[in-house]
């Protein structure tokens, strides 16, 4: 298992969602290419070679953002293992509903955008 290989991503928040992420719209992050199947983002000494893994996908990315980047009010970003209803996700400018949603396997250089539709018109 090549635990050392990572992928670089550009993540953007808008529509008011950036307020939960230190009021910063654009973030460049690096995540492992292979991650625990249970989306645990804490790498600790207890993880063993036998633990189930998967290629990093958008669902894992959301957990990663929640655990490492989110500054406040988790419930405004995630709900029941996915984004809160009313948040749009784009993968390389395409509606994530066309890309397999959370199961989309991330590639190096992907751009993921989260837009809240819940803020005033």
């Amino acid at each position: 298992m090549s635990t050392t290989s990572t992928i670089k991503l550009k993540v953007e928040f808008s529509g008011g969602l950036e307020l939960l992420f230190s009021n910063q719209r654009s973030h460049r992050i690096e995540i492992p290419a292979v991650v625990p199947s249970d989306n645990s983002t804490i790498i600790d000494a207890t993880s063993k070679a036998g633990d189930k893994t998967k290629s990093a996908d958008v669902t894992y990315l959301m957990y990663h953002l929640r655990d490492h980047l989110l500054k406040e009010r988790v419930e405004l970003f995630m709900e029941a293992g996915t984004v809160r209803p009313g948040i749009l996700v784009l993968i390389n400018d395409t509606d994530w509903e066309l890309e397999g949603e959370g199961e989309y396997v991330l590639k190096d250089g992907d751009e993921i955008v989260f837009i809240s539709t819940l803020h005033g018109g």
Partner: protein, 355 residues
């Protein structure tokens, strides 16, 4: 997953799944169908006639920004012959409205439309900041809603426009249907799905985005890189509406057609004559001339409460009785300038910021 091809042009790569139909379409086809559907909504409801002066209620938020963009495009493409204006209300909320007004001012340049900004401060002598300082954060939305409605009409009258269009979208209307059901407000339920409301002496108001999904409005703004402002009002905790909104988004996630289905349900309610009869006859406010169903309009009642330091008087009947018991309003009470219905207003030159 291999890239999918657009279901409309069968050529370009699909970039969006339409919530209404499930159709997968490319960016250009999306712009085309979105704009065409708004055009169809406008023509089917016969909203405008050539020469109409139309004010776009502009908050700087996504809906009104996209509305301004689309209205300008359709007016040119289909030669509606409309004179378009931007009308903004400055509620006087530091750090919220002052920032969003900057967005509106940029929109004025980008869309080359005259802009009129009317503030609560100049109209009522009170900013929302000052109101919240007196009434707290519990009932402030009541003040803001009543004051905004009247300010929009007054701003429109001063521009001499025939018609105000607002950015209310399908999600907003479905949410209002739910709210009215939950409050048992059957009279409003009958009215809230109307695309256009028009009284005898009120300025026509309509919602060209009545059937436009919020998701598509946001995607449109994103793909077109439109400049909009998106921060929640700092005084906005209208908890009841918040619950309705979350509930609706949950429904939509499970079944996207829920939005349109709820609007159709709202439309299907027939308001009985009995309910209609209990709606009060409209008259004009004795103090300011604005339409009202009582001697005093809601804004004058609220303003009197603020001026006399008993702001919650208009919120509850009990407090209102107490206020009445204290005697009539003092002579020197601040009041709202007298309102002249647009039909009575000569089309005189008005001070607006032209781009």
């Amino acid at each position: 997953m291999p890239p999918r091809t657009c279901g409309l042009c069968n050529n370009a790569r699909a970039m969006l799944k339409r919530p209404k139909t499930g159709q997968q379409i490319c960016r250009d086809c999306f712009f085309y169908v979105f704009e065409t559907e708004v055009h169809n909504t406008i023509t089917e409801a016969k909203l405008f006639k050539p020469g109409d002066k139309v004010a776009i209620g502009a908050s700087g938020g996504k809906d009104s920004t996209v509305l301004a963009h689309v209205m300008k495009a359709l007016n040119e493409r289909y030669q509606y012959g409309l004179d378009l204006f931007l009308l903004s209300i400055d509620e006087g909320i530091t750090g919220y409205r002052d920032d969003s007004l900057e967005t509106v001012k940029r929109n004025q340049q980008q869309y080359d439309m005259p802009l009129k900004i009317l503030s609560y401060d100049e109209l009522y002598g009170w900013t929302m900041d000052a109101i919240v300082e007196q009434v707290g954060k519990k009932n402030n939305c009541t003040f803001c809603g009543v004051f905004r409605r009247q300010a929009l009409d007054r701003g429109a009258a001063s521009l001499g426009v025939d018609h105000i269009v607002t950015g209310h979208n399908a999600d907003d209307i479905a949410e209002t249907v739910l709210m009215n059901i939950m409050r048992g407000d059957i009279a409003r339920l009958g009215r809230c799905t109307l695309i256009c409301t028009e009284g005898e002496d009120t300025i026509k108001r309509s919602k060209p985005f009545k059937y436009a999904y919020e998701k598509e409005i946001v995607m449109y703004a994103y793909f077109k890189k439109l400049d909009y402002f998106s921060t929640e009002c700092i005084y906005s905790p209208d908890a009841y509406r918040g619950h309705a909104r979350v509930f609706l988004k949950d429904l939509e996630a499970a079944r996207p057609s829920a939005i349109i289905d709820i609007i159709h349900s709202g439309e299907a309610f027939e308001v009985s004559e009995e309910v209609k009869a209990t709606q009060k006859v409209q008259q004009t406010c004795k103090r300011c001339g604005y339409m009202s169903s009582n001697d005093l309009c809601k804004a004058c009642t609220l303003l009197e409460g603020l001026e006399r330091g008993v702001a919650n008087s208009a919120i509850t009947d009990r407090a209102r009785k107490k206020l009445d018991a204290e005697g009539p309003a003092p002579e020197n009470l601040r009041t709202i300038p007298f309102y002249h219905a647009p039909s009575a207003t000569p089309n005189i030159a008005i001070a607006i910021n032209t781009p």
